[in-house]
């Protein structure tokens, strides 16, 4: 079964500084990877996804992620964060089970942007 590991439970960073949120997944023949964001008291929304092709994926709000097959990683980055980026970020992998698909999430990383 697939699993997703987010190594950092919380990442504090100052406004306008760069940030990287780490995600590692268990190996599979083919994999679909996602990053979701959850703002306080809301559901999750998609930031970006990797399906195939270019290993650098761009998403909304200036975020991007790089897929690294050899390291089984899909780290999320932003070159300059804003206060409004304060939220919880979840990495997820789509796992095929017979003819259906599960969506498995990591434990989340809380990004805290300080002025």
């Amino acid at each position: 079964a697939q699993s997703v590991t987010q190594l950092d439970s919380q990442v504090p960073v100052f406004e306008e500084a760069p940030v990287e949120l780490r995600c590692n997944y268990s190996s599979s023949v083919s994999v679909y990877l996602f990053w979701y964001v959850q703002y306080p008291n809301q559901g999750l929304q998609l930031l970006l996804k990797y399906l195939s092709g270019s290993t650098l994926v761009k998403g909304i709000n200036g975020f991007e992620a790089e897929f690294n097959k050899s390291q089984t990683s899909f780290h999320l980055r932003k070159p300059s964060v804003h206060i409004s980026d304060t939220a919880e970020y979840f990495c997820a992998v789509s796992e095929r089970v017979d003819s259906s698909y599960k969506l498995i999430f990591g434990s989340g990383t809380r990004l805290l942007v300080r002025p």
Partner: protein, 115 residues
């Protein structure tokens, strides 16, 4: 945004009572998922459905059952609520076309407290 409605949004119940949470969608999505969100654990999959009357277990299915008698509704039942089931529950949906690589849409969540 996908039309996903969870009800109730908040519920307090007593230990040992049955509880049913409802997820209703208006997007005609084939896939529906139930997750629970707990601090330090991220989102954990309880059950999911890949069509009417087609359901399967997730990683934390003990003590929960589901039913899907029509496309738009996915019910989660706690057969005999326990304090360990106090959590925030999220429903998500996905379209059936290329379900492995498409975006999941989330409801606003149901906060359940078992006393």
């Amino acid at each position: 945004d996908a039309g996903i409605t969870q009800s109730p949004r908040h519920k307090v119940t007593e230990t040992g009572t049955p509880v049913t949470l409802r997820c209703h969608q208006t997007e005609n999505h084939r896939y529906m998922y139930w997750y629970r969100q707990d601090p330090g654990h991220g989102l954990r999959l309880i059950h999911y459905s890949y069509g009417v009357k087609d359901t399967d277990k997730g990683e934390v299915s003990d003590g929960y059952s589901v039913s899907r008698s029509k496309t738009e509704d996915f019910l989660l039942t706690l057969e005999s609520a326990t304090s360990s089931q106090t959590s925030v529950y999220f429903c998500a949906t996905k379209q059936g076309t290329s379900p492995g690589n498409t975006e999941a849409f989330f409801g606003q969540g149901t906060r359940l407290t078992v006393v």
